[in-house]
């Protein structure tokens, strides 16, 4: 068997995209390492899809450069870049069977039939679609269609696979399952994955590194752990997970709700302690979410593991909130 996949590195240099007077992407520098799973995460309008489309070759770039393994591909048309791409909504060819869809990239390259058959078989096995070879896309479920799209995009062993919100159309239960499959496939073929999503859970659970995008620029870049534990801006802290913001000495600190301990008034122990009044408490099965009014700090959210401690503290009860010194992270934003 030939190699299952290839991988390449991508370099974006001062990449900029204007639509008229609107700047969709501004001066983005990014190095995507060979074989890594990199996620572009951001709300709609943050420029993540535009960035991906420029890598794919479907959007002209206004200025800057894109390099694949050190060679500029900025002027290369999409069909010459040899990037696999999984589209939002999959974009399968509705008039072709599953097999023909997957074989398409090889058949347009006029590969010999034996090679195509072998490779398509390999791909169908990779995404576990063996029994569906002769079905039409409309006869498949959303999850199966997604796998066809993936197999089709990987069939010609592209060095880079671009994925544009590929799980957006799936229901929530299926999504978790497909996330695991995607990650497993990435592991097995080692191709560079560039993944666009607005779903923070997807980003956290699958990526090697995450790029948080905002208004056309990179807000923060790092591993999921680094981003979650050490956000540098308010936006990063609140877009990836939830956060309370404390203002101290002219600086802003992010404090995750689960890093705060809550105890009945007089029982709190910790380096940092404030007193407050419970405004509301909501039961979520695994956690209890408290909203606590603290004088001078406003409403503070606190997550408590529901199995710890006994009955939830009722509304209006006075409580102590405590947290460790390193729990609050100083942000770059001004107070």
């Amino acid at each position: 068997m030939a190699e299952l996949g290839k991988s390449g590195s991508l370099q974006l240099k001062a990449l900029t995209k204007h639509y008229g007077t609107f700047t969709a992407v501004e001066n983005v520098d990014l190095e995507i390492q060979s074989g890594e799973f990199l996620t572009l995460l951001g709300p709609s309008g943050s420029g993540k899809t535009t960035l991906l489309m420029m890598m794919a070759g479907f959007q002209d770039i206004t200025s800057g450069d894109i390099l694949l393994d050190g060679r500029s591909i900025a002027a290369m048309p999409a069909e010459k870049r040899n990037f696999g791409m999984v589209f939002q909504g999959y974009a399968l060819f509705p008039h072709m069977t599953v097999r023909d869809n997957i074989a398409y990239p090889l058949s347009v390259r006029k590969r010999p039939k034996a090679e195509i058959d072998a490779r398509v078989g390999e791909m169908m096995e990779l995404v576990r679609l063996g029994d569906f070879a002769h079905r039409l896309p409309k006869e498949l479920s959303g999850g199966q269609q997604q796998r066809v799209a993936l197999a089709r995009a990987l069939c010609f062993a592209p060095p880079v696979l671009l994925l544009d919100e590929p799980l957006g159309a799936l229901d929530k239960n299926l999504r978790t399952e497909v996330q695991a499959q995607l990650k497993d496939i990435h592991h097995r073929i080692g191709t560079t994955f560039v993944y666009v999503t607005h779903d923070q859970e997807e980003a956290l659970s699958m990526s090697d590194r995450i790029v948080i995008m905002r208004n056309g620029h990179i807000e923060q870049l790092g591993t999921p752990t680094a981003l979650y534990q050490q956000p540098t801006t308010r936006f990063a802290a609140s877009f990836l997970g939830k956060s309370n913001f404390l203002h101290r000495d002219g600086a802003v600190y992010a404090l995750r709700p689960e890093k705060i301990d809550l105890a009945a008034a007089g029982h709190g122990q910790g380096a940092n302690k404030v007193a407050g009044i419970v405004q509301s408490v909501t039961y979520f099965g695994s956690v209890l979410k408290y909203q606590v009014e603290v004088l001078g700090m406003g409403l503070i959210e606190v997550d408590v593991d529901a199995w710890r401690g006994g009955a939830p503290l009722p509304e209006h009860s006075p409580v102590d909130l405590t947290w460790a010194d390193n729990a609050a992270v100083r942000l770059n934003d001004q107070s």
Binding site: E79, N82, L92, P94, H95, V108
Partner: protein, 283 residues
């Protein structure tokens, strides 16, 4: 539980009844009458239909009609396809303008449009006079009063009809499918032949059927631009009815056209669902 649907059904039928009566009286009635005439005039029996095999002139007229219809359908659909393609890929503002121009052509009487071709391309028309004045030709080119003239006129009239179903099928294509083809390494030509064209097949079939069926019954254009030299079925029927008073032959030809169209629809339904064709949408 069971009373409700019957009640709804009754009301529905009462509402539809006047139109049902109209359809039967003004549409089905005459058709039955024509079918009846075709086997009863001038003598009962299939004599009129037998003429198809005995009369040379009838065979020639039908042959001419089918040939002209096939050629003009092919040209109209090909032109319609490129126009629709240009419209789909134009910016919104210019697409609306193009659509406006297209619809405007439906408002202009076929008679006006046909005679303007005579003025343009006739023996003393603008084109021939112009070319002669420039010294490019010494004899006028005969564009009109022949099959070429009929074809020009028919194609000109039918192109807008061809555009609309094709446009609908092109608009229903997901642009990402075309992008997907390119991202998978297909050239522009490969994308067109292997993805775009197959996805517009329903539109092409719908347009071809529509144009062909309208062409079959075309009367004005062949009569004016054919100059009596290109006799097609519709004109021949009118001659039978108005001049030679052979109602039986006329009715037989009309019935033949009706059956021809039905047979065509039947054939098509063997290959694809008619609803996808007339829905103009996704195959």
């Amino acid at each position: 539980m069971s009373a409700l649907p019957r009640h709804v059904l009754n009301t529905g039928w009462i509402l539809v009844l006047p139109f049902l009566v109209l359809v039967v009286a003004l549409f089905l009635g005459p058709i039955v009458n024509i079918l009846w005439l075709s086997v009863s005039e001038p003598t009962p029996g299939l004599g009129n239909y037998a003429k198809l095999f005995t009369s040379d002139s009838l065979g020639r007229i039908i042959g001419t009609t089918v040939r002209i219809c096939v050629i003009s359908t092919a040209i109209s659909v090909a032109l319609g396809y490129s126009i629709a393609y240009a419209m789909v890929h134009a910016a919104d503002a210019s697409r609306n303008k193009m659509l406006g121009l297209l619809l405007m052509s439906f408002w202009i009487s076929v008679l006006v449009r046909t005679f303007s071709w005579l003025m343009l391309l006739g023996r003393n028309g603008v084109v021939n006079n112009g070319l002669e004045a420039l010294g490019i030709i010494s004899q006028p080119i005969s564009f009109m009063r022949n099959e070429l003239g009929v074809l020009i006129g028919m194609v000109h009239y039918m192109v807008p009809y061809a555009v609309l179903p094709i446009l609908a099928s092109m608009q229903s294509i997901d642009g990402r499918v075309v992008q997907a083809s390119r991202s998978l390494g297909a050239t522009g030509a490969q994308t067109f032949w292997r993805v775009y064209l197959p996805l517009t097949r329903a539109g092409i079939v719908a347009a071809s059927l529509l144009v062909f069926i309208i062409n079959l019954g075309f009367y004005v254009v062949p009569a004016v631009l054919g100059g009596g030299k290109v006799l097609m079925v519709a004109e021949y029927i009118s001659v039978q009815v108005l001049v030679t008073l052979q109602w039986g032959t006329a009715a037989m030809l009309a019935a033949l056209m009706l059956f021809g169209v039905l047979a065509l629809l039947f054939l098509m339904s063997r290959f694809m669902k008619l609803s996808t064709v007339f829905g103009g949408g996704k195959a």
